[in-house]
Amino acid sequence: MTTDALARLREQVRRLERRNLSHSHSDTLATGHSAVDTHLGGGLRTGSLHDFLISDPLEIGASLAMLLPILKEGRGPVFWISDTPAELNVLGLHQSGLSQDTLVCIETDTTGLLAVAEDVLRGPERALAVITGSHVPTLKETRRLNLTVEASGNTGFFLRSAPLARAPGKDPCACATRWRILSHPSAPRMFPGLAMPLPGSRRLSAALLRVRGGRPAHWILDCTDHAPLSRSLDALLAHRAPSALPSGRLPGRQAPGRARASA
């Protein structure tokens, strides 16, 4: 009798904790920044929603620099859901490591955006969804989406424009994390002979505004490029190599060796 009661209690507790869901072992998607990953316990949790606030249209690049490695880590098809045509550039995404084979763009009308997102996230297929658009989801809508992703184990990312002055990001939300990522000036690399310094490796000012079961934090992140070369090495070496000849003089016929070296 006692064991029966205990088992019943355990069952109740498990239902409260929502551990009866199929993907109870929640996975994480590493962001690639060790400080962030240790703070979050491995990275962004799958089976939840993450909210990225963009304070200025020009700042979207910073959020993408954070988001694209995470999407690549997800290793599933990525659905880019927006109510306007996506201005994504395939060549740039390829350089960022996101294959164009796994990216599917979905364009919806304004009212159907979240409904389509729910359809994608409901599964049973594995999917990562990036929901962009000007629409500010209400608490009810995000809760509904959150229930969906909890049941399916898929992960959703909001990428929405929220100017700093109007939306400080304090409003309640059912997302697991909320970020505001801004660009931060990098350390320019000076080279002799150049009029302007070259941009250094990219630096982000990442503010974790809220996280479920954790403390907000702020980091200055360096995005070092550890990705394997996207192009062949000889092309890289030949690209912008200093000219072997002074400018204004065409290579003569007597210098086959040099011509080969610069080819």
């Binding site: 020009l58 690049g61 694209l68 994504l88 763009c105 009029a195 310094p197 941009p199 092309a235």
Partner: protein
């Protein structure tokens, strides 16, 4: 038309003009050419002919449900009990000929008690109608040549040598010597033509659409009831599809309302499928589109497009590991999205090589992506976001052809801390006059606040013909 036979080219088909000029079937091509030096010939394509005949046979099903082949150029149709539908036998034959003429065929139509007699009558003349009333086929066949019967060449030639040129002469002879001389085959042919013996027709069954009709006892109007009907129809359709080895690409669900109007719903799939759950889910999601009004009394489910089902890689029984499902898009999810109301487009982005970056992408349907080579364009970094319409900015630069130092966008001044460039792109001079000689110098810049942007200047800053020298913002890294 000619085809190789016995080591030489023989004529197998003729146009009316060639017939009028005196050419006949079975002539060798060389001889025909010597008779008609400007003869236009084409080699026979047996496969195409067979396909065309199959096509015609499926078409003939309007006449009666039992069409059959008479290869290579004939068709049977068992019209027993069908003539009254067309107003009598003569009217029916006229109609057949008229409709075949409308399709561009010249034909000869014959109707009699037996299939073999009709065949002989039809083949003994071109472009005519022959109607033999019941029991009269012996008289009708009497004057016809023996070649109208399906006899081998050797038998025909020996019959001709014996002077037996008509079927009537053959039929009048005593049977025993004929059988002894020519074998049982000749007598069988003769008996079939005269109706003494019956040979069944190999009836052709045209591959029609799979269509299921469910008439309901009472009109339904609730989503649940419609879903029940769909759930009952889809397994039967899938079973039929599997039996044919095909998968549906397009399904039509027609709901006939009580007032006789039809509510139609169409769903498409991205690959041929006969999966019950997938098709059921696709159809059930369309239920809100149906307006039952006073009720639906009949539901018809039609497979309007199907394709052979590819035997894809077998799904393993074991649950696949974390990394194994990387490749491949979920086809069923994309189907659902494509058929969903509210979705404007579902596409993938494919790189396209063009001079200007704003043209450098194309939309392809999901799963249709070819492997593109990322070649020379990848030497410079490319931004993640590219505007289709570059935004005009006011740039201050030290030199007209030098690096930008600051720019004004929407009345806000951004100072540039670092810049990389220029990357010079040349217009597609072979396309249009204005891109001839056009130059753009692209700079990857970082502002003092850390924004990384992609600016370009029209022209090289020196020569007026290469561009105006105006600056634009095109992308965000």
């Amino acid at each position: 038309m000619h085809a190789p036979a016995h080591n030489r080219q023989t004529i197998t088909g003729l146009s009316p003009a060639a017939l009028a000029a005196g050419l006949r079937q079975g002539l060798s091509l060389a001889q025909a050419r010597s008779l008609m030096p400007d003869l236009l010939t084409a080699e026979e394509d047996a496969e195409a002919q067979r396909v065309a005949l199959t096509d015609l046979c499926s078409w003939l099903i309007w006449l009666s449900p039992l069409p059959a082949f008479d290869a290579p150029d004939g068709l049977y149709s068992d019209t027993t009990g069908c003539a009254h539908l067309y107003g009598g036998e003569a009217a029916m034959l006229d109609l057949v000929r008229e409709r075949l003429k409308a399709r561009g065929h010249s034909c000869s139509v014959a109707l009699s008690d037996t299939a073999a007699a009709s065949r002989a009558l039809a083949r003994s003349g071109i472009d005519r109608i022959c109607l033999v009333s019941s029991g009269q086929q012996k008289e009708a066949l009497h004057p016809l040549p023996c070649s109208a019967l399906p006899l081998p060449e050797k038998t025909l030639s020996s019959l001709t040598r014996l002077g037996l040129t008509t079927i009537g002469a053959l039929a009048d002879l005593p049977r025993a010597p004929l059988a002894k001389r020519f074998g049982a085959e000749l007598l069988t042919c003769l008996d079939e033509a005269l109706g003494r013996q019956v040979r069944p027709l190999g009836v052709f069954q045209p591959a029609d659409r799979i269509s299921l009709t469910r008439s309901l006892v009472e009109p339904i109007s609730t989503p649940g009831a419609i879903a029940t009907v769909i759930a009952a129809l889809v397994p039967v359709v899938c079973e039929k599809l599997v039996a044919r080895g095909e998968g549906a690409r397009q399904l039509d669900l027609l709901c006939v309302r009580v007032d006789g109007s039809i509510q139609a719903v169409r769903v498409g799939t991205s690959d041929p499928t006969a999966d019950i759950t997938r098709l059921t889910r696709l159809l059930k999601e369309q239920i809100p589109q149906i307006a039952p009004e006073f009720g639906i009394e009949t539901i018809i489910l039609t497979v309007s497009a199907s394709e052979p089902l590819e035997a894809g890689p077998e799904h393993s029984v074991l649950p696949d590991e974390a990394g194994s499902s990387e490749t491949g898009l979920p086809a069923s999810l994309i189907d659902r999205l494509l058929n969903r109301p509210g979705v404007v487009s579902v596409h993938q982005l494919a790189p396209q090589f063009s001079a200007w970056p704003e043209d450098g992408r194309s939309r392809v349907s999901p799963g249709n992506m070819a492997k593109p080579p990322f070649a020379s364009q990848m030497l410079w970094a490319r931004p993640n976001i590219v505007f289709d319409l570059p935004v005009r900015v006011q740039v201050t630069a030290l030199l007209p052809d030098g690096a930008p130092r600051q720019f004004v966008l929407k009345r806000q001044t951004h100072r540039i801390a670092a810049a990389d460039g220029p990357e010079r792109l040349l217009g597609e001079w072979w396309q249009s006059a204005e891109s001839y000689g056009a130059i753009r110098d692209y700079w990857q810049v970082e502002t003092t606040t850390g924004l990384r942007l992609w600016l370009f200047r029209k022209g090289d800053g020196v020569h007026g013909w290469s561009g105006s020298g105006a600056w634009f913002l095109q992308g965000i890294f």
